[in-house]
Symmetry: C2
Subunit: 155 residues, 2 copies
């Protein structure tokens, strides 16, 4: 999770919401990523998605069933779904997401029995640090509201 | 939906589970895609994800709030989440997915009130055709079970 926090710091440094993710296989980090929604202009460019895609490329396998994923924030619906599809063994996350978390908060993935995979879920790993990096990012944003404005992109 | 079915046919032709998606803005098709899980070796390469990514690239915008998505099969958890995140206006889907559908079947996305976007959902569009392309694909697969075997990829 320390490495995932480092990834989150990289996101904050480029003005992205600071979430970081790392995938580990046999004790070795095989993928790391951070949120790149703004830079890529893609709503799908969450840290977990990018890490899963990197790991699959590396292993040339869409199933990551001997891999564990560490992410600083509870995954959203999209990322929880991707974790299920890629058959991640254990998901470790830092802090819960009361607005969009779909592992335990808005949805409890373990209770959707008909899904064909259920990752083990360990929450609250380095929770204070994972929460603080987000809080301080948004605190800073509120201080400089102009920086919040997005340029409107014509089609 | 006819165009989404054409995309699904392209998937079937390359031995991918036949699901196709199309995104429309102001009556114009701006993105079309089909499932490429096997070809890309990515569990995340579903038709809807690829179409959303293409549309965002085209519009240089992660919000697709004046766009509608047509997909032959009810979206899974990942794709439903991506539809919410990208703020697709209306989701039209063909046939329900009893195993993994997370728009209406395993989860009812409209009932998760705390999500910050809820697409309009119209289901059952060209349902018989959308179901039949999947049934005939799997019927064919069962006839030739050897073709089902995936090469195991070493890490």
């Amino acid at each position: 999770m320390r490495l995932a926090l480092k990834e989150a710091e990289k996101a904050a440094a480029i003005d992205e919401v600071p979430v970081g993710a790392v995938i580990v296989q046999n004790g070795k980090v095989i993928a790391r990523a951070h949120n790149l929604k703004e830079k890529k202009m893609q709503s799908t460019a969450h840290a977990e998605m990018l890490a899963i895609q990197k790991a699959s490329r590396k292993l040339n396998n869409y199933y990551l069933d001997d891999c564990d994923l560490y992410v600083t924030l509870e995954p959203c619906m999209m990322c929880t779904g991707a974790i299920v599809l890629s058959r991640i063994r254990t998901l470790y996350y830092g802090t819960a997401d009361p607005k969009g978390g779909c592992t335990d908060t808005l949805i409890q993935v373990r209770n959707i029995k008909r899904l064909n995979h259920h990752p083990n879920v360990i929450s609250g790993v380095l929770q204070p640090e994972c929460a603080e990096i987000l809080s301080s990012f948004f605190r800073e944003k509120r201080k400089h509201p102009k920086k919040n404005r997005k340029p409107v992109q014509p089609a």
